[in-house]
């Protein structure tokens, strides 16, 4: 297939066209990044309120408690608590992680790393951001309603999420917000998939793409297929709430209710399980690349890593029932889901072996992107292994809906993705903004984050093992959880510590974007992928001339190189070892 080069457009000049309504994937990426960081802070604040209530029930939330909750003396009331954990989950998943990993980094990296000038549909790209903004606006608005925002858990199971359980407009607006967000995601997915398939520079075969692109591409495939299924579920619930249908209403006092609440769970988790892989695949791809870059040797088993990620993507579509074991589906269905879920261990073990193989006999430079990548290896290992307990139907009888689950998914979804996102930010910052982030502050950020992070989520798994169930406003009322209070307090204190550590990052980020005078070089990390062949920050049109790719993305440490560098750019002819 001949390669169709994208035109070089005239660079935008006005503030409006440069920073607001921009069609440039790099600007849109930065918009998503700021958007995601904003929501990360909002979601984080909510987490603090939740943790405060769990550790110190009955005490007013410090500093802003009295302002936010005047009628309860500054103490978080139970119905607000329900709203807080609902919105914390929703915000972190859809408004923080997805915009940062999938909105920002996918948008930024895909064209640059495959040698294209922009995404294939820049207008669609721009619309995708504004739909995300609209979605965020609706959610923010829902928090200002008199009856409050959604409070049925981020999974919003009916019948709690029907009008019967959640009166008022808050839950409906939550549903609309997520539907708009789904449109944004799907638009992005169409763009990413088509761009990777059709705009790779000449010579960039699929197996010469950086693993970051593999991660992003597989994510987009899952997004395209499964986000609409969530859309269907959301619509049905909206119809129940607004138009009087009875899909999910059963046994409810108000109607004869011949619907089935479990139907929602099926539809939700058919989306929900691929969703968690949507959240982690970008980070896996990024880490796979960064480990190679900073160990100064090729990614170990590149092809098998790419194929493992693909296998996991495919398998992720048929395991969703493990979220529903306690709904007592038929034994055949339950067994099948357990067996299929277990299969995911094999490709996971393979790419873990490859990750370790990558740093084995390397020459490791402990830069901040590398530290965070190594951090991902640790936390995802822990988190992934704890998934095995939950995959077992019998163990799940005990652990379902306990803090063990919360610990598990935070390790895999929050810790791994967050650390991966930080790695990505520190790594691509010079290309995005033209300066380096302060490396010393970055290292402080890492060490001040990694320890409390483990404190929080290991603590959660321990209290979950001890049986403490989740979404509980005041654990004190149960005798079997009273002895866990000091551990809960420890978790909260760790959360505070981790929260404070993020100030280092935010300060470093803002300082480096706006106040850093020292320009970064074209290739500060000495790495050969295509984005490092252009100046920092990347010019509007990316490449003056479309590159011709001649070797893989991880050509580092080749002993026969004569250029004085220890790596090859992807545009250089491969030097045989």
């Amino acid at each position: 297939m001949a390669f169709l080069e994208q035109h070089i457009h005239e660079a935008p000049t006005s503030f409006w066209s440069k920073y607001v309504i921009s069609f440039d994937h790099k600007v849109i990426a930065k918009q998503f990044l700021w958007y995601g960081i904003f929501w990360l802070l909002v979601g984080g604040l909510m987490a603090m309120m939740i943790r405060w209530t769990l550790a110190f029930p009955g005490t007013p939330f410090p500093l802003i408690g009295h302002m936010l909750f005047p009628h309860s003396g500054g103490i978080v009331p139970p119905d607000t608590y329900a709203m807080l954990f609902t919105l914390h989950g929703t915000i972190m998943i859809f408004f923080a992680i997805t915009p940062i990993l999938n909105g920002a980094f996918a948008n930024y990296c895909i064209p640059l790393m495959i040698g294209a000038r922009d995404m294939i549909f820049p207008t669609l790209n721009m619309l995708s951001f504004w739909f995300a903004m609209a979605s965020g606006g609706v959610l923010l608005a829902s928090m200002c309603l008199p009856l409050g925002a959604a409070a049925g858990g981020w999974t919003s199971y009916p019948t709690l999420s029907t009008l019967m359980g959640q009166p008022g407009a808050g839950q409906t607006m939550w549903l609309v917000s997520l539907f708009l967000f789904g449109i944004s995601s799907t638009m992005g997915a169409i763009n990413y998939i088509t761009t990777v398939i059709t705009l790779r520079a000449p010579g960039m075969d699929y197996f010469k793409m950086p693993l970051t692109i593999w991660g992003m591409w597989l994510t987009a495939v899952l997004n395209a297929i499964f986000v609409p299924v969530l859309g269907a579920g959301l619509l049905l619930l909206i119809f129940d709430r607004v138009f009087g249908t009875t899909f999910f209403l059963a046994g409810a006092a108000a109607t004869s209710g011949k619907g089935d609440p479990v139907l929602f769970q099926h539809v939700f988790w058919i989306f929900g399980h691929p969703e968690v892989y949507i959240l982690i695949l970008p980070a896996w791809g990024i880490v796979s690349d960064l480990l190679s870059f900073f160990a100064r040797k090729p990614a170990f088993g590149y092809k098998t890593t790419a194929l493992s990620m693909t296998a996991i993507t495919i398998l992720s579509t048929v395991v969703y029932g493990h979220h529903m074991y306690t709904t007592q589906m038929s034994p055949l269905l339950t067994q099948s889901f357990m067996t299929l879920t277990m299969l995911i261990s094999i490709p996971s073990a393979v790419f873990y072996a490859n990750w370790l193989g990558t740093i084995w006999k390397g020459s490791i430079r402990f830069t901040s992107p590398m530290l965070f990548s190594l951090g991902v290896v640790f936390v995802f290992g822990l988190g992934g292994l704890t998934g095995l307990y939950l995959a077992s139907t019998s163990i799940d009888l005990y652990l379902h809906d306990t803090y063990f689950v919360v610990g598990h998914f935070h390790y895999t979804m929050a810790a791994s993705v967050l650390l991966g996102g930080f790695a990505a930010t520190y790594f691509w910052f010079p290309k995005m903004f033209g300066t380096m982030m302060d490396e010393r502050l970055a290292k402080w950020h890492f060490w001040c984050t990694i320890f409390p992070l483990n404190g929080i989520f290991t603590g959660m798994m321990l209290v979950g093992y001890a049986g403490m169930h989740r979404r509980i406003y005041n654990p004190f009322i149960y005798e079997f959880t009273q002895k866990l209070m000091p551990i809960n307090t420890f978790i909260t204190l760790s959360a505070v510590a981790m929260g404070l550590a993020q100030i280092i990052f935010v300060w470093n980020f803002v300082k480096s974007v706006f106040f850093n005078k020292e320009k970064a070089s074209d290739n500060p990390w000495d790495v050969g992928t295509l984005e490092w062949t252009v100046p920092s920050p990347a010019p509007v049109h990316n490449f003056d001339e479309i590159p011709h790719v001649k070797c893989g993305p991880h050509e580092l440490g080749n002993p026969n190189l004569t250029t004085g560098r220890d790596f090859q750019y992807q545009t250089e002819e491969l030097v045989k070892a």
């Binding site: 001890a466 979404r471 009322i477």
Partner: protein, 277 residues
């Protein structure tokens, strides 16, 4: 830590003093993180599998950590100046990677799958409905309490003489208890920490769960599915009595039920015919 917690006591009032003291009271960390006392004959199956999984997980995670920390130490740029240029595509490399994948699957996944399947098939899904001497209970979960129903003297559910309690489940030690479970309004989940089991109570559906106890005492019932702002208040109590105490309680409450049940009240008839929803 203690000062912090004791500070909380003042705010929560005298009702919270006892639990706070229990929380603060010296207990080793290991004791604290133990699950609640297992009072059933089958709970140990779940814990055995949990422990096995923990051991194999620790083994594999230790290997990951040895790789992660070991390689970071020995192969830092300072210590190891020349990296090994390999793409990991030698036959040997594929064998090792594949081998690891297979070994992980065999040692962890296959065992868990097999044991879990056996436990579910042979124990947890073996509902004792055909057995002669079991205790049958119907539980209707609602926001925010547990409605519990016994068949009463006539042995039929949803009749005028049923013994109905709120949040108060009483069972005799050593006998199997079979619970039919549903919910009135939203999804709840009946959770017995001391039995290591739970089942979702879904409006419009009938769930079944069974257990048998081997120790008397009072134990807690909790709701394990988000059911509204007061989900945390859905605490029930299960009292496991000796057979005599249970029989005495049963006959007493049955007499009271026949005498005082308000036959006109529709609230009395929230139950259903056993097995038929």
């Amino acid at each position: 830590m203690e000062a912090l917690l004791l500070n909380v006591v003042g705010k929560l009032g005298p009702a919270m003093e006892a639990p706070l003291r229990l929380a603060v009271e010296s207990m080793s960390f290991w004791e604290r993180i133990q699950p609640p006392e297992d009072i059933t004959t089958n709970g140990h199956l779940i814990m055995w599998l949990f422990n096995y999984t923990t051991w194999v997980n620790l083994f594999w995670f230790a290997l990951v950590c040895i790789g992660l920390f070991g390689f970071s130490w020995f192969y830092s740029a300072k210590r190891h100046k020349k990296p090994l240029y390999t793409h990991g595509t030698d036959k040997q490399h594929y064998m090792i990677t594949a081998g690891i994948g297979v070994l992980v699957f065999l040692s962890v996944d296959m065992v868990i799958t097999k044991v879990s399947t056996n436990d579910m098939k042979n124990v947890f899904w073996q509902f004792p409905d055909q057995e002669p001497d079991i205790v049958r209970v119907q539980i209707l979960a609602q926001q925010w309490m547990w409605n519990i129903r016994y068949a009463g003297a006539d042995g039929e559910f949803n009749t005028g003489d049923d013994v109905v309690t709120n949040n108060d489940l009483r069972v005799p030690v050593g006998k199997k208890v079979l619970v039919e479970l549903t919910a009135k309004d939203v999804i709840h989940a009946f959770y017995l920490p001391n039995a290591r089991i739970k089942a979702d109570a879904i409006p419009g559906r009938l769930a079944k769960i069974w257990f048998d106890t081997n120790k008397t005492g009072t134990y807690e019932i909790a709701c394990a599915e988000m059911c509204g702002a007061h989900h945390y208040l859905m605490r029930g109590v299960m009292t496991v009595l000796t057979q005599e105490d249970y029989d005495r309680w049963k006959s007493e409450t049955e007499k009271i039920a026949i005498a005082t049940n308000d036959q006109e009240s529709p609230d009395l008839r929230w139950g259903w015919k056993w097995g038929n929803f």
